[in-house]
Amino acid sequence: MAPVPGAILNGLGVGLVSAVGDVLVIKQSQPLPEWKKSTKTKEEELADLKSAIEFVSSHLDELGIKAGGTSAEIFDALKMLLEDDELFEVASAHIEDGWSAAAAIGKAVDEFSELLGGDPTFDERVADFQDLSKRVQARLAGIETALSIPEKGRIVLVGEDFSPADTAQFTDAVVGVITLKGGPTSHTAIICRSKSIAAVVSCPDAAGLETGERVLVDPVGDRVLVSDDESLATKAIAFVVINAEPLIPVRANIGSLEDAKAAHETRANGVGLFRTELLYLSAKTEPSLEQQVASYTEILKASPEGPIVVRTIDAGSDKPVPFLNMPEEENPSLGVRGYRLIAEHRSFIEGQLKALEQARLASGREVWVMAPMIATAEEAKAFADLARSIGSYKVGIMVETPSIALIVEQLKGVLDFISVGTNDLSQYLFAADRMNPSLGALLNHWQPALIKSLASIASGAKAAGISSGVCGESASDPAFAVVLAGLGIESVSVSRSQVTAVHNALSSLSLADAKQIAKAVLNETTAEAAKATALREIANR
């Protein structure tokens, strides 16, 4: 059913710019003809295939020149896939077997997609590759695939999702983009963010919009309105600082010496998450204790004033450390990763803790250590005992499995602190793969079940006398950081670029206000309502 004037279509907003424009629905192009046996000579089919590939290839060149910058690199890579020698050989073999040029290229691309599939690294490439195959087949069938977008006017494009070849054809008239599918990390989202085009993705209700309708794309409000009133757009909040210090400390996330130095330039109070994997991911052999001590000391010394929370290695078969020989797994995110490596690699984790203790002494800094992927109180105790037998740091764990989130109170006397990794906690709580773009809506940090979990983690930690922090990406959202403080979380750690914004937000109100806001948010039953309530409550303080 077509949405009526005033209707609100919910999705995921990209960026901060809103726009009013006229809908242009981009339909999936004409269906391609079925694959047939050839009625021409093999030489003719080969020549047809060659010229169709050349046509699409030169079209990619044009798109690359138009797009420029990093997008141009994408087109170069696509062109290389299309012009691959082996691909042409495989397609030629199908022509030898009597297939038409269109069938031959389709089959050849399918075969290679099969070979490349199943690996998350290549999934996006496989989709792009299939898109190329369709373009060649369309050329052979004489079907037009170019989008015809006007050069003038104010256009809001509506479509399933847009490929790199599509987005390169966006004209200056495109002021907004709405996609039915695709998440906040889709190609469309990335391009719209970089070009400051108002965009709402993952908006299935937009399927009812018709060409010519006037809509308001409102990314800050995570919605599209069937309206031409730009003043209805949700405003990004400007926080007015009233306190010198934020309600709870704002720390920075780092992964390298460069990060530590850059974080030092911000107002961050220490480091809330030092990801140590980067030091090992590119090492062929295990670095010696001396090398590790030297790296850690340098990074500790460079870090911003305040405690430095170091996470022990968080690697798994999808993020393998070469010298630890991790076997491939069916479901790496549910497999042997993080602290679970202790069974096979105890000496490595002990070595890391020893190096951190020596670096702590050498740098004179306050160091806290924590282990990732802890699922039981038993594991938490085993890690705490191990860490305390090696060094005099505060000891904690990451809370990212639902199992440990449920029993935070039982950690009383075992740990000094916990830190919630909301990215992984969402992934496990909602059984939604973080790498899968079509599940973006479930991984939205405003989901009521996540907020409820955070509330219970914060109160469990208080009851157990353990300090609680959040270091996931959710804490980098200033409005969400206010909610976290209101829920009783005692520190946040955010990406370096967000330190100032979160610091300002947390300095703009009292703890009593934050508690009221959190309470109102906890009553909501959808992510959209939770966010809207938080923004409204914050604006009313």
């Binding site: 890579a77 691959d84 082996e86 490349l116 070469p322």
Partner: protein, 90 residues
């Protein structure tokens, strides 16, 4: 013509993905030589196709053998060293 072999290691954290594969293919085509790459003891892939190389699904940390069809030891070593460069982390 004989062939010369050398070892390289994939250091890029994402493994042998599209970018290094295309860099290798470009180099191979420019050299005009027959070059194959594979895991030691397994079937090798002709390095004139990025798709073939990507289909090997080489992970970070794996060691590979590069075989160059030439009698020119210095040339082969240069090519192998260049391929190793492509396989380093960014």
């Amino acid at each position: 013509m004989s062939s010369i072999q050398g070892q390289v290691q994939v250091l890029d954290p994402i493994g042998l993905h599209a970018r290094p594969a295309s860099q290798i293919v470009k180099l191979v085509k420019e050299s005009g030589l027959e070059i194959t790459i594979g895991r030691p003891g397994q079937e090798f892939a002709k390095a004139n196709s990025a798709l073939r190389l990507m289909a090997l699904k080489i992970s970070s940390g794996e060691a590979l053998t590069v075989e160059v069809e030439t009698d020119d030891q210095a040339l082969a070593e240069g090519i192998i060293a260049q391929i190793q460069e492509f396989l380093k982390a960014d």
